[in-house]
């Protein structure tokens, strides 16, 4: 039942950063590839808080690189891709607007239904009979909406045209049904406006079109350690909160506490022993280990970053308590 988006997943490169806008891509990468990123957007349903954030998801260059190296994702220059807005065919443009409109109508409709339902619930306690009548009505309406969706989903969605026409059909069906059921049909001017999350459609999916991807993301020297830990199943997130480079979780951070504060070093990079004391003490103070590691090869000793990943050695450090 869990969906897999079309691969490779396009990662939006926006002004030097890596972003994801597709909820399916976000869920899939988290579930299948242990990539969490950081949500940075405002949730429209609860916009006045900073605890729970929404799309887009910002990926570290390391995360984007791991995914590109695995062939799971590719990097798309999003500003350039949106130049495609200039070359939309008139027909596609109109079609897209009709699709949005039908979605808006359905949204309006569902909201109205929900309102009915809520009213029904509140009336229930007062008047059982009346509530029953409304419920029957609501069920009828629901059946209508369902039929519409089945019609839409059963239509072949292989090409954009087919897909949009099926939606269009759904809309037709819905509006006719609403007439027959006799519920208050929303007037056209009351249709909900929609701000879509992604631009695909109306833009053609970047993977199916031209395939002009940007080169692999440039990564910091700590990338081999990142990739090493990722390959061993750890979920990694930015380390700012603990004053380190990464925080490593043994499972999805939604459910698990992190195990390590991670710092990377080059093999011969001189370090102050005090840094080990700092890291060890900090980690132990928050019930985590301090993980220090890095590749044994320098960048100029190997052909690619991938060759460094295999040479990573790590050390886990905790305060001895003596």
């Amino acid at each position: 039942m869990e969906s897999t988006p079309t691969l490779p997943i396009p990662i939006s490169y926006v002004s030097g950063r890596y972003l994801l806008f597709s909820i399916d891509a976000v869920t899939y990468l988290r579930r299948e590839h242990n990539i969490c990123g950081v949500l940075i957007g405002t949730l429209p349903q609860i916009p006045q808080q900073n605890v729970f954030l929404g799309l887009p998801l910002e990926l570290m260059p390391e995360e984007a690189r791991v995914l590109v190296d695995k062939g799971v994702a590719c990097i798309v220059d999003e500003a350039k891709a949106h130049d495609g807005m200039r070359s939309l065919l008139e027909e596609d443009r109109r079609q897209y607007l009709r699709d949005l409109e039908s979605q808006g109508q359905l949204a309006t409709r569902i909201l109205a239904d929900r309102k009915d339902q809520l009213r029904e619930q509140s009336l229930k306690e007062i008047d059982e009979k009346k509530a029953k009548g409304l419920a029957a009505k609501a069920a009828k309406a629901a059946q209508a909406a369902a039929d519409a969706q089945i019609a839409a989903s059963s239509a072949p969605a292989s090409t954009e045209k087919d897909e949009s026409s099926s939606i269009f059909a759904a809309e037709d069906e819905m509006s006719s049904l609403s007439r027959t059921t006799g519920t208050s049909t929303p007037a056209p001017q009351q249709t909900m406006g929609i701000t879509p999350t992604t631009s695909y459609p109306p833009l053609p999916h970047p993977v199916s079109s031209s395939g002009q991807y940007l080169p692999k993301p440039k990564v910091p020297l700590s990338y081999p350690l990142f990739a090493h830990l990722h390959s061993r199943g750890y979920f990694l997130s930015p380390g700012l909160r603990f004053g380190c480079q990464y925080v490593a979780y043994p499972g999805d951070p939604l459910r698990f506490h992190s195990h390590f504060v991670v710092v990377s070093a080059e093999w011969d990079q001189e370090m102050d022993l005090m840094d080990i004391v700092n890291g060890g003490r900090l980690g132990t103070g928050v019930k985590k280990g301090f993980l220090l590691g890095g590749p044994q090869k320098r960048r100029d000793e190997v052909e690619s970053e991938a060759d460094r990943i295999e040479t990573v050695r790590t050390f886990s450090i905790e305060w001895a308590g003596m």
Partner: protein, 203 residues
């Protein structure tokens, strides 16, 4: 400070200073660190059977500190969380277990350090451990009842396996650091270092 005795003519050198003076006549500046840490283990932390392992001749360890220290602490310093869970389930207390030799990497604040040095120290540690196997195997306590003895046998068997699977942690050592700068009052701090990703203890 401890070695700059001549600058403090009015003060009698401490016992530790004298010890270091006499022992580090070799001229190796790091020897003083080793002696100081050995002294700290022996007298502050009451370790026994202390030994100094010269690893400076190992070609593999040219970057490592020239010596390692090993000894037996009065109490266990480190128990892996899964090992702890096993012991809890089997009703084994730490005191039931025979003492274990633990290795210490002596360092001093201000000394240059790197991943290469850390790795070199661990590599020499591996070499030493392999050459001195099962030194402790004979020292099993006799006073336990047979049921406990059986449990302990199971434990030691499991421990041998865990060494292979690394489920109870990996090769480990204490990284000891003395402070030198800022007056160097002789504090030594100890950190447990294990190779690879070993999950943290929860207490």
């Amino acid at each position: 400070m401890t070695t700059q005795q001549t600058q403090l003519p009015s003060l009698e050198p401490s016992a530790l200073t004298k010890l270091i003076e006499s022992a580090s006549a070799s001229g190796n500046p790091l020897a003083a660190t080793t002696i100081q840490i050995l002294h700290n283990l022996q007298h502050q932390h009451l370790w026994t059977s202390l030994e100094i392992h010269d690893i400076s001749t190992d070609s593999i360890a040219s970057d490592a500190p020239p010596t390692l220290i090993s000894g037996i602490p009065p109490h266990r310093i480190y128990t892996h969380p899964d090992e702890q869970l096993y012991m809890l389930e089997k009703g084994i207390a730490e005191d039931d277990l025979r003492p274990e030799r633990l290795f210490v990497i002596p360092t001093a604040q201000g000394q240059t350090w790197s991943l290469r040095r850390m790795a070199a120290a661990f590599d020499s540690l591996a070499a030493i451990e392999e050459s001195s196997v099962s030194e402790e195997a004979m020292s099993t306590s006799e006073s336990v009842d047979s049921e406990k003895a059986k449990k302990l046998d199971e434990y030691y068997e499991k421990k041998e396996m865990a060494k292979e699977t690394k489920e109870w942690g990996t090769r480990r050592a204490l990284l000891a650091m003395t402070n030198r700068g800022m007056g160097g009052e002789g504090t030594v701090v100890y950190y447990v270092v294990q190779e690879g990703e070993v999950k943290p203890r929860q207490n």
